[in-house]
Symmetry: C2
Subunit: 196 residues, 2 copies
């Protein structure tokens, strides 16, 4: 049990919440479990997150944000070729999701349950990712590499057309033989489509 | 109860099985229920389908085949423009799945459970559909409308990239506002990609 004198931050609570979720699963994890893991009263947790629902939302957002943050660097590298950045971004998204699913299957299953319940948090995450894609496609259009009349609509189409390689409902396909070739075939087709 | 003198065909058994599945759900439906619905002994059913598993496979295959059969006409219309046939085929697949999900949600849910269990039947169905798509893309390549070095790989990529509009895991998105525009955006992008 960590010393209670250590400052209780929202981040420390979220770390402990993830650990509790990993151990107990989404159905059984309670705020009391989180408080116990931190050696504090549940009132101290409620001072940071006013309800159990708010805590679950925040921990799920943190889990999803870890992926968007990994990808932000590819979007920001504006000196690089937009087509290559698009390919790298899609590959990095697939890799991030595949790692999450493969490295810690229990936690991935837990967050899949939470994201099913928390539609709003997922919508925000998809909006974040689509905005990143829009920036890359806009850069490609400005550079004359892509021809997209509506980069936002094109970004949404690219995101949806690659769902097989990032949507949790396909997680069991991500280790199938040939899946990397399938990914490349879809991305090649979409890139050719964006070139117009 | 229908007269037992009527010839007991595999098709009549499958019709009755679907009705029993609709009424009892996939977990509870038994061969005895099917026999009772037909007014025959369960031995008579077993003469056509040697196990309960074989019966479940056959009824699921019949359900999936109904979709492939609807699409086969579009593939066969070889005098028509391949690009338009591709668009029609994808739209007809989306429409067929959306109707199945919306017109009879209980039966759709039942078959979603069955297809989750019967991976081989689903693989055959996907192979059927991909073979149909391959024929259209090959025709387009021969006509010079499409440029696909490997029409089979291109067909698989098109099928996977449109998963959002035919895979049951997205069924709840199919009535969302804007889904038809999203479908069109994805198909336009893929068609441009095939044109090369």
């Amino acid at each position: 049990m960590p010393p209670t004198s250590e400052t209780l931050t929202a981040e420390r609570i979220l770390e402990a919440t993830e650990e509790v979720l990993r151990r107990h699963g989404p159905a059984k994890a309670t705020v009391v479990d989180v408080a116990r893991a931190l050696g504090v009263s549940h009132g101290s947790v409620y001072r940071h997150f006013r309800t159990k629902a708010a805590l679950r939302e925040a921990v799920t957002k943190r889990w999803l944000d870890r992926t968007s943050e990994r990808l932000a660097g590819i979007v920001a590298a504006e000196d690089r070729d937009p087509e290559q950045r698009l390919r790298d971004w899609l590959a990095a998204l697939f890799a991030a999701k595949r790692h999450k699913a493969g490295d810690d299957p229990e936690l991935f299953a837990t967050y899949t349950v939470l994201t099913d319940e928390l539609g709003g948090v997922v919508q925000d995450h998809i909006a974040d990712l689509t905005a990143q894609l829009t920036r890359i496609i806009t850069a490609g259009t400005e550079a004359g590499v892509f021809r997209a009349a509506d980069p936002t609509a094109a970004a949404r189409a690219v995101f949806q057309a690659t769902g097989r390689f990032h949507d949790p409902c396909y997680a069991r396909e991500w280790t199938a033989p040939g899946v990397d070739d399938e990914f490349t075939a879809v991305v090649d087709l979409l890139v050719r489509g964006l070139r117009g």
